[in-house]
């Protein structure tokens, strides 16, 4: 008795996975596979060389973190356009701490920068959640303000690799079983975030709030607190991405991570997170981030001339969302057909 129920529930879940929600993630994953395949066929070094393998996994790591945070925020029907500025500010903070307090323990710096990111997220979240005003306006405001503070603070200074301790920079490229440590950290964050969103009450409430904020209010959900949390998650992960940035690139000036907001939002949307909230997974968003960064790296390899690369990125972004839409429509048609035949 129990076994039969289990089996049917299992097959149901597999079918739901294949036909419904997960289709989007699969499509994007497939696209990612194709890009890697095309690049590797053109130049085997893309995958089969120490640097190639490492860079393939390592390059997307910071954006991966930012995109996960962005997905949290978008799921609640908000948006955080200030993430690029937060990454820039925390990356500078990381370098500044090392440069100003020589010998400062690395974990302390990481913690401080991540907390600083969380604080910036808190500023966004508090303004959005308590004043009940559109996140787009607030975070556009903080995009300018945080970057301005960054430029003021940095002036024409910059952090050079020599300002930071060797072990910290080594951490930027360190590998464990050939897998970059930064990537391992980012994927660990991803797994925790995905589990939380799927299985915790407060995670599901993020979806509910994004699906219909008024209904969430009627249900008595703690909307303010949840939205605040989403922004803090976004800020925290952007802060961690700032640390990654400093470790990976070694040089930080006042323009670091400029424009990342569009990459993060774009990646989340490509990955199937609905911009109107309530729909999508961090898995999809993460694959979207991976795809975006890998496309960027693969284009020169497959021989697209430098100047045309951005245009190709644009075409691919649009292609991805159009494909997703076409798949969704086909899905819907199939549902209608089955209903008719029933």
């Amino acid at each position: 008795m129990t076994t039969t129920i289990d089996i049917s529930a299992g097959t149901n879940r597999v079918r739901a996975f294949l036909s419904g929600g997960r289709m989007r993630e699969l499509g994007i994953l497939l696209a990612l596979g194709l890009v890697i395949l095309a690049a590797t066929l053109t130049n085997p070094k893309f995958l089969f060389s120490g640097d190639g393998w490492r860079d393939l996994l390592l390059t997307p790591a910071p954006l991966l973190l930012v995109t996960i945070g962005q997905a949290f925020v978008i799921i609640t029907r908000n948006v955080d356009i200030s993430v690029g500025s937060i990454v820039g500010l925390t990356a500078y903070m990381t370098g500044w701490l090392f440069a100003t307090f020589p010998g400062i323990p690395i974990p302390l710096v990481v913690l401080a920068s991540v907390l600083f990111g969380a604080f910036l997220g808190l500023v966004n979240g508090a303004l959005v959640a308590f004043a009940k005003v559109p996140a787009m306006v607030i975070t556009l405001g903080t995009l300018y303000a945080f970057r301005g503070i960054n430029v003021l603070w940095t002036g024409s200074d910059r952090i050079n690799p020599s300002d930071m301790p060797k072990p910290f920079l080594a951490f930027g490229t360190a590998q464990f079983l050939t897998i970059p440590v930064l990537t391992i950290v980012a994927v660990a964050v991803l797994v925790v975030a995905a589990w939380y969103l799927a299985n915790m009450r407060s995670g599901r409430e993020l979806y509910a709030i994004g699906s219909d904020p008024q209904a969430a209010n009627l249900y008595g959900l703690k909307t303010t607190r949840r939205v605040l949390t989403a922004f803090i998650v976004s800020g925290t992960l952007s802060g961690l991405a700032g640390v990654f940035y400093a470790a990976r690139y070694g040089t930080v000036d006042s323009q670091a991570a400029m424009g990342w907001e569009f990459n993060a939002i774009g990646a989340a949307v490509i990955g199937g997170v609905a911009i109107v909230g309530g729909v999508g997974t961090v898995w999809g968003a993460a694959i979207g981030a991976f795809l975006l960064m890998t496309i960027n790296r693969a284009l020169p390899i497959v021989g697209i001339p430098d100047f045309w690369q951005q245009a190709v990125v644009g075409v691919l972004i649009i292609g991805a969302i159009v494909l997703d839409r076409v798949l969704a429509l086909r899905q819907k048609r199939r549902l209608i057909e089955t209903r008719d035949n029933a």
Partner: protein
């Protein structure tokens, strides 16, 4: 002295040296190369007793610069020392400023000759092409594939240098092949990623030449912990402070640069000389640039700083900029 109420003083009207006000407008703020220039420029201004200010956009775009040129005109500054993000785009604004009595001196990156009074050239194109060509040829044994990692696609000086470099190498070192030019836009991250892409798409690459301080530093940083370290040579134009670490760990053997501090100093003295009416800016005029000595204005209003200087492990510790 009140220089700001009226911008209407006719061009060519001389300012006496005690109400001299000079604005330095680099390509963008937060660029270590221009920070060094600023040190030289402000020191020169102090020596001249001139009021000095550095302004600039955060991103290296011509439209960003135009606003600051306009502002200088409104304020009625005596002189504007500018490194152009585009030879033409800021021309009209500069001429308008000149009509309002502002002396315009370009340095590092020139505009069309008819929209500035003088251009302070850090090194002539042939000199830069030669020093880079010789350095890379020596490091890779005069044969192999070489790629260029440049700044933005529109940077005047970069493009001229690159053309001259390619020409020089093709003539002098027939076994060296320049296979590609990529652009890092003088952004760390972009230059870094472009280096990675260069290495991957060109498995036989022997060397990279980066005629920009941001580019060479980013490339060095990528090379220093990649498999290509020691395999692929890197040279170009860089600042000692940024490159010190990579010279020490052997990623880079030698690179070149003039002293950007001196460049700023010279540009400021030149601007003051024109603004005070000491010289007209015509070919053959001479003026003094403090400790740097006497300089003569060449054809087209160009003043040449000198030959580029090569930094390597033996001498790098003597320089701090």
């Amino acid at each position: 002295a009140d220089t700001s109420t009226s911008g209407g003083s006719g061009s060519g009207e001389a300012a006496s040296s005690d109400d001299l006000s000079i604005t330095l407008l680099p390509k963008n703020l937060g660029n270590p190369y221009f920070d060094a220039s600023e040190i030289g420029a402000s020191a020169a201004a102090e020596a001249l007793g001139a009021e000095f200010e550095q302004v600039g956009p955060t991103e290296a775009t011509p439209d960003g610069q135009v606003s600051y040129i306009n502002t200088a005109a409104q304020q009625g500054r005596s002189a504007l020392v500018v490194s152009a993000n585009d030879p033409n785009a800021i021309c009209d604004a500069l001429n308008e400023a000149r009509d309002n009595g502002v002396t315009v001196v370009t340095f590092d990156s020139d505009t069309n000759p008819d929209c500035r009074d003088l251009f302070i050239n850090q090194a002539d194109t042939a000199g830069i092409a030669k020093v880079q060509g010789d350095l890379i040829a020596e490091q890779i044994g005069e044969e192999g594939e070489v790629a260029i990692l440049s700044a933005s696609a529109n940077a005047t000086n970069q493009n001229t240098w690159n053309e001259a470099f390619i020409e020089y190498v093709n003539e002098t070192y027939p076994d060296i092949e320049i296979i590609d030019t990529v652009y890092g836009d003088d952004e760390d991250q972009k230059s870094f990623d472009q280096t990675a892409a260069l290495l991957q798409s060109n498995p036989d690459l022997a060397g990279i030449v980066s005629p920009t301080t941001v580019g060479i530093a980013a490339a060095a940083r990528y090379l220093s912990d990649s498999d290509a370290k020691g395999e692929v040579a890197l040279t170009g134009l860089g600042t000692p402070n940024q490159m010190r670490e990579f010279i020490e760990d052997g990623t880079v053997e030698a690179f070149a640069l003039w002293n950007p501090e001196d460049l700023g100093t010279l540009a400021t003295y030149a601007a003051a000389a024109v603004a005070t009416g000491e010289i007209e800016g015509a070919e053959g005029d001479t003026f003094s640039a403090g400790d740097l000595g006497e300089f003569t204005v060449g054809a087209d209003g160009v003043v040449l700083l000198g030959d580029p200087f090569v930094f390597d492990a033996d001498n790098i510790d003597e320089f701090q900029f």
